[in-house]
Point group: C2
Chain length 218, copies 2
Amino acid sequence: MTTKERRPHELHDTREKILDVARDMFAHEGYESVTMRAIAERIELTPTAIYHHFKNKSALLTELCQADFQKLAQHFNASAVPADPVERILAIGEAYLYFAEKHPSQYRFMFMTVIPDPELDEDYVATTRGNPERDAYAFLREACREAIEAGRLRPEMKNPDEVAQMLWGGVHGMISLHIVKSHEGWVAWCDLRTSATQLMIAMLRGLLKNPAEAPTRP
Amino acid sequence: MTTKERRPHELHDTREKILDVARDMFAHEGYESVTMRAIAERIELTPTAIYHHFKNKSALLTELCQADFQKLAQHFNASAVPADPVERILAIGEAYLYFAEKHPSQYRFMFMTVIPDPELDEDYVATTRGNPERDAYAFLREACREAIEAGRLRPEMKNPDEVAQMLWGGVHGMISLHIVKSHEGWVAWCDLRTSATQLMIAMLRGLLKNPAEAPTRP
DNA sequence: GCTGTTAGGTTAACATTGTTAATGTAAGAT
DNA sequence: ATCTTACATTAACAATGTTAACCTAACAGC
């Protein structure tokens, strides 16, 4: 036994298959309306088999969220690169918006779903939280911190968490209203991308010491 | 029969009882986890009885939302009275925030719950939609329209719907993030009221032609 | 090579969900 | 006195997440 051949029973990639199928189905049909039986059918197993790999349906969701939060952080690191912190904040917002538009159902379960008793994996928290390379919130917070430190923001805006939460909250609100309400006819909804971009720019203009420094978009 | 004694069968307030109980339960336990059977039990009827008054569970939610939206509009009309449209916008935001802080679970099902097949009552739509006295969104939109008409906003901000949606979205985002995420330990959340108020003021400052005109709060 | 453990699978069932069909009943209208 | 309608019941349906009981083949250690 040369030590490395772990792999009990041929391959144990069933677990991976479950995750892939579940993500795909959650994303296309929404968490609540996807059934364990349907997942099992697509994978050509019995529903019970899934329970040998995940405690229950909610644990399946939690694990997908963890993976997707990390992917979002990677997305930020890859696409929000400007050295100027204010420009970077806008780039983060645009990356966030892009993610939300491309994966609305994933967005829904990541940011709009109350998970009862969120049992976060200890290792995951230890290696991820506060690390801008893996934690998307930390990445945004860091940009805000730099903007404050460089004296770019108005003097009353000195708490990086508060600034980060205001910016995140603003964009998130725009996105989530569209997800929840845009299929009702009550409000004449404007284009999400335009509104959210304008919102970010307006907020930045209002936060900056020198509003003329605010980035613009066509 | 002096014509006015409608009331078939004694009183037909069963319907009202169902609404009251359902609102209370939805607000305390969330829409999905409240069962028709549980509602029926609290009202001392069989589950089937509910279906004589409401088409299904979703229709029950829809009707509650309609009533509560009107209450919110009344709240706006009563407490957001400044003649100056910009001041009024901030007052609306504060009233909205107050409502959300006082009734977080009603807020949840009013603004954060996807209603499947929302079948709005025709009469309700006809008498309410677009009427600032009954439609909370219309009340906000009207304040934005006045601000635009008075030339207070930057020239690119000329669509009252877009401005209203940006403001609503911003505050809503702050509120809903707190509702969904604040009991997780991941982020160091700041005080909701402070953050949301600062967010509104920053947005207004960024939207105004003359930022110095922006309202302030202690 | 035999044996025990265990990862990973199956079948069958359970309790709970929203919802409906069939039926009863009593009040108001004719 | 009879008909209609509003409102309730009982019983059942199909679908859900989940679990108990059981099977089976692969690996580990003797």
